[in-house]
Amino acid sequence: MSGAKEHILTCINCPMGCTITVKAKGSKVLSVDGNECKAGEKYAILEMEHPMRILTSTVKVKNGILSRIPVRSSAELPKGNIRECVRLLNDLEVNAPIDIHSPVLKDLLGTGVDIITTRSMERDGE
C-alpha cells in the first residue's frame, strides 16, 4: 500500500516490554504485530493515534513530616501535554494533614483529569 510506514514500538504496559511492529498510514494503523497480549495492541494503536501517559511528580506541602508530597494524574494525559502539566504543579502548595488520593488540582488543562496525592501526610510533631 502506498504511503504505509513501519514503526517499531516498545509496549509500556508491563515489564515484558514487547517490541511491537506497527504498519500505519499517517496515524491510521493497518496492522500490529509482535505483542504478546491484547493490551499491547491497544497500546500500539493509541500510541500511533494519540499517545497517553500517566504523570507522576511531587508538590510542596506545608506543616508535613516531609516537605514534598508525591502526586499522580488520576488518568492518562496526552503525552504532548506532560511538560506543561508539570509546570502547573510548580507553584502548588498543599497543607498537611492530607489523605491519600486527595485532589490537589482539578480538571488539568480541561482534560477532566485531576492531580491526586499518592500518600497521606501527617502534620509534623503529631
Binding site: 514500538l9 516498545t10 509496549c11 509500556i12 504496559n13 508491563c14 515489564p15 515484558m16 516490554g17 514487547c18 517490541t19 504478546e36 501517559r53 500517566i54 507522576t56 511528580s57 511531587t58 510542596k60 513530616i65 516531609l66 516537605s67 514534598r68 508525591p70 502526586v71 499522580r72 503525552k79 506532560i82 511538560r83 508539570v86 491519600i100 499518592t118 500518600r119 497521606s120
Partner: protein, 418 residues
Amino acid sequence: MNAKVAVIGGGPAGLGAAVAAYEAGINPEDIHIIERDMELGGILQQCIHNGFGQLIFGEMMTGPEYASHYIDEVLKAGIRFHLNTMVLDISPDRVITAVNQEECLMRINADSIILAMGCRERTRYQIHLPGERPAGIYPAGTVQRLINIEGALPGRRAVILGSGDIGMIMARRLVLEGAEVEGVYEIMGSPSGLPRNVQQCLRDFEIPLHLSHTVTGIHGNRRLEGVTISRVNPESLKPMPGTERYVECDTLVLSVGLIPENELSEGAGIKLDGWTGGPIVDEERETSVDGIFGCGNAVHVYDLVDDVTKSSELAGRSAARYVKGETICREHVLSITAGENVRYTVPQHIRKQSDEPVEVFFRVYLEAANVKLQALVAAEVISEESRRVVKPPIMEKIILQGDLLPVDGEIIIQVVEK
C-alpha cells in the same frame, strides 16, 4: 523482649512477610517489624513513579500507593513495629541487638527471624571509576531521594552512567524538574533496565542512550565540571583508545547495579551465595541458619515489587510454620543447579517435605529468542516452558510440581533453543 517472628526491615518485603505471618495464625503482638527509617514503606516512599502492583492488584500503582496498602494491613492487624530503630547484630541463636532513642539498647529474643533488609546501590568505588573526587557524583537512588523526598535538584546538567531502571527513571525526573540530561551511557551492548523504561523515560524525552560506552574520567576540583566518555570494545568491555570525548556536566548519576544488603546476615553466620550476594535459601526461604528466613531484595534483586511481596509472603508463612513446629524436612536435600544460560537460581536447594509446587526464579546470561526453560532431573525434563524471548534484565521463573521431585540428587535449570 520476646518475639515469635521478628522482621528486619519495614519495606515492601518486611511488610509482606509480617502480614503473611499474621494471616498464618501468629498473634500480631508477637510479630515485631524493626525499621531504621522514621516511617514504614522503605524505598517505595521515594519511588513516586507508577508501574507497581500489576501482578498482585491488576493495576498500575505508584510506590507510595503500593506501600500504603501494606502499611494499612499492618496497622489493621495490630502488628508491632519499631521505627527509627537500627539493628546492630543478629546472633545465630536469634538474639537481635538494636538501638533507638527511646530505649537506647534493646534485645529481642526471637523464635524466628525474617531478613528483609533490601539492597544497596553499587558505588563509584565498586566500579573503579577513575579521576578526581569532586562533589556532584550520586548513586541514582540518592538523586531519587533528593528530588522526590527533599525537593532538591542535585544539579543542572547531568550525565547518567548505567542504564539500570532507577537511572532511567531519574533521567526523566531530572528533565521534568528542569535539569538537562546529556545522555545515558551503558557499558554493555544492551540496556540493563526494563524495555518499558527505555521507552517511557528516555525515548519519550529524547534522551540519548549510548550503548557500549562508559565514563573513563572525572574532572572538577570542588564541583564536578565534566566527564570523559569512551567507547568500549563490546567483547572485552575495555575502553578503546582514541574514542575519548569530553562532556561538560555538574552531575554524574550512577545506575550501575544493586547489591543485597547482608552485613547482618554475615554476622549471624548465614551462608551467602556468591552470585546473588544474598543468603542461600531453600524453597521456604529458610537460610542456612535454623529459624532465620530471607526475602525480597536481601536475597536477590528483583525487577518487580510484586515479586518481592510474593517472596516475602512465602517467607512469612514459612516462619509461622517453623514457629508452630509444623516444618518437616526431607531426608535428602535436593540441590538446584544453574545450567546453560542461567546465571543463578533462587531457591538454591529444596529441603522440606511438601507436595506444594516450587517456583524457581533465575536470570539468564544472554538474550535469546524462541527458547525453552527446562528443569532436568537425571537428564529427564520434569518441567518445561516456552518463551519468545529471554533477556538478562527480566527475571524468569519455572514451576516444579511437588509430586515430580526426586527423592535426592540435583535439579538442573537451563535455557535452550527450541
